[in-house]
């Protein structure tokens, strides 16, 4: 019994030391051991979340990222073209050379998102840390955002949702799309598709803070040639692609 109490004491002491570390040095290196935002703190514009898709590592026919997203966020397997789809696999073939490319396609979390521009109720919005979301409390289901999105990233929920999830509320009559797993990112952990891709033995998706020059994603973007999709539209997407 005394052992148990001792453990508890050590645990509490360690916990308070960690808490003190955060309080003493905000924004300093100490923060790097976990990116979870403390309770009560809003998302900060000092951070910009983004993804790097390495198409050279993405295997044709593999849809681990799609399955992971479905399980994590609770959307059913799409059967019709009008069904909900937050992420999909796209296979490309260059006709002249026959070069084939496989990549996951989802919301590109633009810095200048057209879906936000057209939303009549301000339900479509960009969070301070660059994540583009739908506030389903305000969404009236008009689907202007779906028409405005050049990536066909958004879907409309036609059917009633029966299997609700505490982390990712979904409902009939609203538009939804990739949230960059905002519920996970706020806890300081990576999106489900990134985890699944790595678990499947690939390293096709890198997630991280584009504003942090030392993050894995920033280092990769500095060292290899990357492209944004439809860069001509000036959207400044949070996603970059290698090998396109």
């Amino acid at each position: 019994m005394s052992d148990v109490n001792q453990d508890r004491r050590q645990f509490l002491a360690r916990g308070s030391a960690v808490a003190a570390g955060i309080a003493i040095a905000p924004g300093m290196l100490l923060f790097d051991f976990a990116r979870a935002r403390p309770a009560g703190e809003p998302a900060s514009s000092a951070v910009r979340w983004g993804m790097l898709i390495d198409t050279t590592q993405c295997e044709s026919g593999c849809d681990d990222c799609v399955t992971a997203c479905r399980k994590e966020n609770g959307w059913p397997e799409p059967k019709a073209s009008t069904d909900v789809q937050w992420i999909r696999k796209v296979e490309l073939k260059q006709i002249s050379s026959g070069k084939q490319t496989s990549l996951p396609m989802m919301c590109q979390h633009c810095a200048n998102p057209p879906c936000v521009d057209v939303c009549p109720t301000a339900a479509s919005f960009k969070r301070a840390d660059g994540i583009v979301l739908v506030d389903k409390h305000r969404c009236i289901g008009c689907r202007y955002c779906m028409m405005a999105c050049p990536f066909k990233a958004r879907s409309f929920v036609h059917e009633p949702v029966l299997d609700h999830d505490s982390d990712m509320p979904r409902g009939q009559g609203t538009v939804e799309s990739c949230t960059l797993c905002v519920h996970r990112v706020d806890k300081g952990i990576r999106p489900a598709c990134v985890e699944a891709c790595e678990k499947g033995g690939h390293r096709a998706i890198v997630f991280g803070d584009l504003n942090d020059p030392n993050s894995e994603i920033s280092l990769r973007i500095r060292s290899v040639t990357t492209t944004q999709l439809r860069a001509d539209l000036g959207l400044n997407t949070g996603f970059s692609f290698v090998g396109l």
Binding site: F125, H164, G171, G188, I189, R190, K199, G208
Partner: protein, 125 residues
């Protein structure tokens, strides 16, 4: 008009008033985040404020949270705050004749009954 109502209510025997009040299954119950009398009147204001703070600003970890309400007040019989007029949310909303929209999208079951995430929780580098 209001004074008349109060007088009327006072004139009615407490036993009769009790028989009209909904008999609620408060689930686990216990210490609420605020006084129950305050919550009865103001819970919707607390939740609606928090919903905007969380969805739009990303502020998490508030003591006011719909999921926390459900965690404590889901019935131990059907593990939900809905289902019958004994269930915590539905019972009172039926009594007050106020439509309840929250659970069109949000879960009416406590988090312990949600499927856990299957994906390893590696920290962001």
């Amino acid at each position: 008009m209001r004074t008349l109502l109060v007088i009327l209510l006072l004139a009615v025997s407490p036993a009769w008033a009790d028989s009209l009040a909904p008999k609620l299954d408060i689930g686990r119950g216990g210490q609420c985040v605020e006084d129950p009398a305050f919550m009865r009147v103001n819970h919707m204001k607390l939740i609606i404020h928090q919903r905007d703070e969380t969805v739009r600003k990303g502020i998490r970890g508030s003591k006011y949270s719909l999921a926390n309400c459900v965690d404590c007040h889901a019935s131990k019989v059907n593990h939900s705050v809905l289902g019958s007029n004994q269930n915590f949310c539905q019972g009172c909303h039926a009594y007050a004749a106020v439509k309840i929209d929250c659970f069109e999208c949000h879960s009416s079951k406590p988090r312990e009954f949600m499927r856990p995430s299957e994906f390893a929780a590696e920290e962001i580098k």
